[in-house]
């Protein structure tokens, strides 16, 4: 399948991150997918992320993890790094 832009450089990775405290699970996500990520601890404090297991594009995996939580995913396409933040209400 032909992919466009930066997505072409992203590859699916096997990962298995259980549901849990975002402070820990996001770090575990970074460790398993070997992507760069930054998030501020105040935003993710107390948030519980979903489990994700299988072969995924890292961005998709991250979006599955934060789905249904107040957290959002930001992908920096030039360098392939991620941020997770809380939408200001």
């Amino acid at each position: 399948m032909v992919m466009l832009g930066c997505a072409a450089e992203k590859e699916r990775v096997s990962l298995d991150v259980p549901a849990g405290d975002a402070v820990k699970t996001l770090k575990e996500f970074a460790r398993q997918t070997e992507v760069e990520i930054v998030y501020d601890l105040q935003s993710v404090n107390g948030v519980r992320t979903n489990a994700v297991s299988g072969r995924y594009d890292p961005e998709v995996a991250l979006r599955i993890m934060v789905r249904g939580t107040p957290l959002q995913v930001d992908y920096e396409r030039e360098t392939g790094a991620y941020a997770v933040f809380r939408e200001k209400s």
Partner: protein
Amino acid sequence: MKDVPFEFDENSPVEIAASEWFARLDRGLTADEQDRYVEWLAKDPLHRETINRYQSDWENFDRLAGIHLKSHARIDPDLLAPAREQGSRWARWGRNLAIFGPLPFAAIVVLTLFFVFSGPEESAGLKLQPATELLARIEQKTLADGSIIEMNRGAEVEVAYSAAERRVFLKKGEANFDVAKDPDRPFLVNVAGVDVQAVGTIFSIRLQEDEVDVIVTEGVVKVKPSNSAPAAPRGAVSDTFLQVGQRAKVDIGSAAPVINVSAIDDREVQERHLWKPRLLDYDKILLGEIVKEFNRSNPVKVVLSDPSLETISLSSTFWSDNVEGFVRLMESSFGMEAEWRGSREILLRKAR
């Protein structure tokens, strides 16, 4: 951008697509769907924004309805497909931690490779980019024999492997060489008329205007003027062997280059290698501290305008040479604005 109130048409194609993807995410994506989802996300920044908005709308809805969400991703049917070629830098990082890990023995391959440092493409985002080249990521090349060359920004390297020897030319700048063991085929870097030879060794060379500077981090290298250099008659200058903890400086300005060897301590070695990417991997670090870490490694420095920014507590897994990505994310997700001040300084401040 995210703070601007939205006016949207829920029947627009983007809205419909986003709602469909959102529903699919909930039940898990097949491999094919993932490809299409990633493709869709990449096609237009609006797609990402829309799906993010879905995310927050859903959260509100969820709270109101009191539904407890469960979202386990389905196991991918491609689970047993061959693993991807892992980014070697991460693997290297692991190896760096175990400093004296065994070096791979390499197969003998005859090839000639040429590569030249190339600047990054123009990219949007950061306003004004006088120093794009200075922001470029550090390049790491793995050669056919498994040797690894890390090139500092601006470095130029040419590789010419033959059956008899592995010859590399450092044309410009600074590079670190991690050489795969092959006693039958010496690894030789030619730099401005000086040969640096190694067998299974890690060493760095910096070529400056009037000087070549070599330091060794593992093993031993031999430094000598090239045989091909006209000013260096064969045997006139004896070979100099350089060991861990030593530095050789060769004055290339003079007709007969002289090799000066001196001791170098760990701190100097570390400083000399600061340009090499380090994984800034912190469970908890203040923004002020991580900015310092980036600044230690990069020619472009980040300055925080406001002391209150310094105390933002972050978790980070970032390579020290990706200050550009870091700054962009500070802009897009952390409510900050970046502005160039001169060609080597980026000011970060709270967005107005």
